[in-house]
């Protein structure tokens, strides 16, 4: 029997995954352990290895489409295994990009044909195939919930319902002028986009946010960064950024504010022992939050190096799910885009998130004089279920003190 390649479960509580890219194409010979595709999960991209040595056949999973964990996505035929058990030419489904150099002989996909090669090798009941055929639906796009990923009638009907909902929103919203919502391009959420959407909706729904903003003078911080840059250059560490410096400061003072370095857990507050600081970043339009582990015990060179490693890993998609989740506090800096100040949505189940705006010279009063000073807005969003206004204000007071006199702390 050919060996099934299934979509593996690579993260706890993972129900679906998305194949980001195939590294092999139909008919390729693979050795056990070769990377055959990349799977996008809870903010990470993982490489999946071939479970056996042989020829890859019947690649049936499209890239970019959520697939239920455990669903077979291809088969590996070992040496000597008959390939006529399943038509040998079964190509990847419609997404042309998934098999860039696919054999030219692959026939065009014809959704209405029952024996469409794309559905060969798929487990589906005759009734599911019949309904798919009648509706011009490519079965490869349907996730099967039956034994061994078999697609049944219910799976096809669910898929058709979803397709209808997506395809004709105006049907559900009668008053909207016809066509108003159907123009433009409809792009399904990526795996990460779905996670972000779910988690942030949950956060705004369940965590009552309140916001404290402080305008903090950045002269000393800038001065320190300049000197650190020189020192880091001498010791071969990357150049520190304002984000890393703030992370370092926040990590230090969070040790004195356990109620801020905490998470809501049901009807309890979990006070974390470590300070793990997530840094919100953007990658290809997606929000990802790599985490500086145990940031409370890192010095600046160590933190700068770790930050650089995370940033590179994120760009190369080599970070594990563990490196992309589980922080105790998050920092989001949009200052480099010229944003003056903003309020961020808490990254659940954390208790707070710090939003940093740009540093800009502003007139301020000092010793009875109006002088220009580099100033930045820091806005703390807190979950009022576990953090009260005074506790958040004390944290902001310590933050101001530390940012304005960083050397005292560091």
């Amino acid at each position: 029997m050919p060996v099934e390649v299934i979509l593996p479960k690579v993260d706890m509580d993972m129900e679906t995954g998305t194949i980001e890219a195939w590294h092999v194409k139909e008919g390729d010979l693979v050795r056990q352990g070769d990377t055959i595709f990349e799977i996008g999960t809870n903010k990470a991209v993982m490489e999946v290895e071939a479970p056996a040595t042989g020829a890859i056949r019947n690649i049936k999973a499209e890239t970019g489409v959520p697939i239920t964990v455990g669903t077979p996505v291809a088969w590996i035929y070992r040496d000597g295994e008959a390939q006529d058990a399943v038509p040998a030419r079964a190509p990847s489904p419609s997404s042309a990009g998934s098999v860039p150099d696919g054999p030219a002989k692959s026939p065009p996909i014809e959704p209405a044909i029952a024996t469409s090669p794309a559905t060969a090798g798929l487990r589906a009941t005759p009734l599911a195939r019949r309904i798919a055929r009648q509706n011009g639906l490519e079965l490869a796009a349907v996730s099967g919930t039956g034994p061994r990923g078999r697609i049944g009638e219910a799976d096809v009907r669910r898929h058709l319902d979803e397709r209808r909902r997506c395809a004709s929103p105006q049907a559900a919203l009668a008053p909207v002028p016809a066509g108003a919502l159907t123009e433009g391009r409809l792009q399904p959420f990526s795996a990460i986009r779905r996670i972000v959407a779910t988690r942030l909706s949950e956060s705004t729904r369940t965590a009552p946010h309140f916001y404290l903003t402080s305008e903090i003078e950045m002269s000393a911080a800038r001065d320190l960064l300049r000197r650190l840059a020189a020192r880091h250059e001498r010791i071969g560490a990357p150049k520190p950024s304002i984000t890393v410096l703030i992370a370092r400061i926040a990590a230090r003072i969070l040790r004195d504010h356990p109620v801020i370095n905490a998470s809501a857990e049901g009807e309890a507050t979990r006070f974390h022992e470590n300070v793990d600081i997530g840094i919100a970043m953007e990658r290809d339009g997606d929000l990802v939050v790599p985490v500086l582990r145990d940031a409370g015990n890192m010095d600046m060179p160590a933190m700068t190096r770790e930050f650089a490693r995370l940033r590179d890993g994120m760009a190369k998609r080599t970070l594990t799910p563990a490196e992309l989740g589980g922080g105790t506090f998050t920092i989001s800096n949009l200052g480099m885009y010229g944003v003056d100040s903003f309020t961020a949505i808490i990254n659940p189940p954390q208790g707070a998130i710090l939003a940093i705006g740009r540093t800009v010279d502003k007139p301020v009063g000092r010793d009875g004089q109006i002088v220009l000073r580099p100033m930045a807005n820091f806005t703390l969003s807190s979950d009022h279920r576990i953090i009260d206004g005074v506790a958040a204000a004390r944290f902001m007071a310590d933050l101001r003190e530390a940012v304005e006199n960083p050397e005292v702390l560091l």
Partner: protein
């Protein structure tokens, strides 16, 4: 269904399965003097299971004939009588003993009409008490109906209710071809409504015992009864099972099964005979080959007898054939999980 119409107009009593068979025999003998009974202990003793009862007193030893212990002899005599214009109704004391009569039933009774270009026919009925559950062990407990369903020229019936037992026996006696009726021994004492008049239940017509949406359960004889009981329990569990009582396994009412599966999308076939190469295999294949295939939303599942001689130990005996619990479990799994 013609039988239901008759039931509505006639005088209806509650009879046991054995009483219903006896009533059919008596009415057939009253109506047609060519009809006679033939078998081991069918006379004075009243039949091994008491089916013929007092018929010998009503119709005399000329028409209710106790025979020597020779199944081949009885069957051969019946074939000869049938060819010459009589309507013999023969009882094989335990259906297991029919092995001894195979030559007469398979090579003679089933073939003669064809061998003589339709100039001769063999209007005989063979009643065969069969099935397990009586603690009678491997040589007195088999379900051999599939053997005969494999023979063109024979008709094979398995009525499950007193009503059908009477109506199908009368239809079988009318039939110009050899008909074998397998009567499950455990059904003889079961009771049901039976019209007093002589009515016929057409051969080759299945009965839908219960309508349902989620799964079709096909069975005959005692398995149809178990399927009905299982369906009742499944309903309590939110599963709507349609139960088809085959009644006749040759000819088989494929249309009724197909229409049901087209509606429910799932099929469970239950039979007491050995599962391997059995009736369930035939029904599964008929559906798989037909255009109803496209309406299946799960594999077809067979529940049949174990690949074993029926054990004497009562616990093992029960375990060797499908029980109501097995049907409930298999049907629920098929509907909920898509496999048995």
């Amino acid at each position: 269904m013609p039988s239901e119409t008759l039931e509505a107009t006639g005088d209806v009593r509650e009879l046991s399965y054995a009483e219903a068979v006896r009533e059919a025999l008596g009415q057939a003998m009253e109506a047609d003097e060519r009809v006679f009974l033939f078998g081991e202990d069918v006379g004075v003793y009243g039949g091994a299971f008491g089916v013929s009862g007092d018929l010998v007193h009503r119709f005399g030893k000329e028409r209710v004939i106790d025979t020597p212990i020779s199944e081949l002899g009885i069957a051969g005599a019946a074939v000869g009588a049938a060819i010459t214009g009589m309507r013999p109704v023969l009882e094989i004391q335990f259906s297991d003993f029919v092995t001894l009569a195979m030559e007469q039933l398979v090579n003679q009774a089933a073939k003669i009409r064809f061998m003589f270009g339709g100039k001769a026919s063999v209007p005989m009925v063979v009643r065969l008490p069969g099935g397990s559950g009586t603690g009678a062990a491997a040589q007195h407990s088999q379900s051999l109906e599939a053997w005969f369903a494999h023979v063109p020229g024979l008709k094979v019936l398995q009525p499950s209710t007193p009503h059908d037992a009477k109506g199908m026996l009368l239809a079988a006696i009318d039939d110009p071809n050899p008909v074998l009726i397998f009567e499950h021994k455990l059904l003889y004492k079961t009771k049901g409504h039976v019209p007093a008049e002589a009515y016929r239940v057409p051969i080759g017509q299945a009965a839908i015992r219960r309508e349902g949406r989620d799964i079709t359960i096909v069975g005959s004889s005692i398995m149809a009864r178990k399927a009905e009981a299982a369906a009742e329990r499944l309903a309590g569990d939110g599963i709507s099972a349609e139960v088809i009582d085959l009644r006749s396994i040759r000819p088989i009412d494929f249309t009724t099964i197909a229409e049901s599966v087209r509606k429910t999308h799932r099929l469970l076939v239950v039979y007491e005979g050995v599962k391997t190469m059995g009736i369930g295999a035939e029904i599964s294949a008929m559906i798989a080959e037909s255009e109803v295939f496209d309406f299946l939303d799960a594999p077809i599942i067979r529940l049949g007898g174990a690949d074993s001689p029926i054990p004497y130990n009562p616990v093992l005996e029960k375990a060797a054939v499908p029980q109501e619990d097995d049907i409930v479990t298999a049907a629920a799994n098929l509907v909920r999980r898509g496999e048995a």
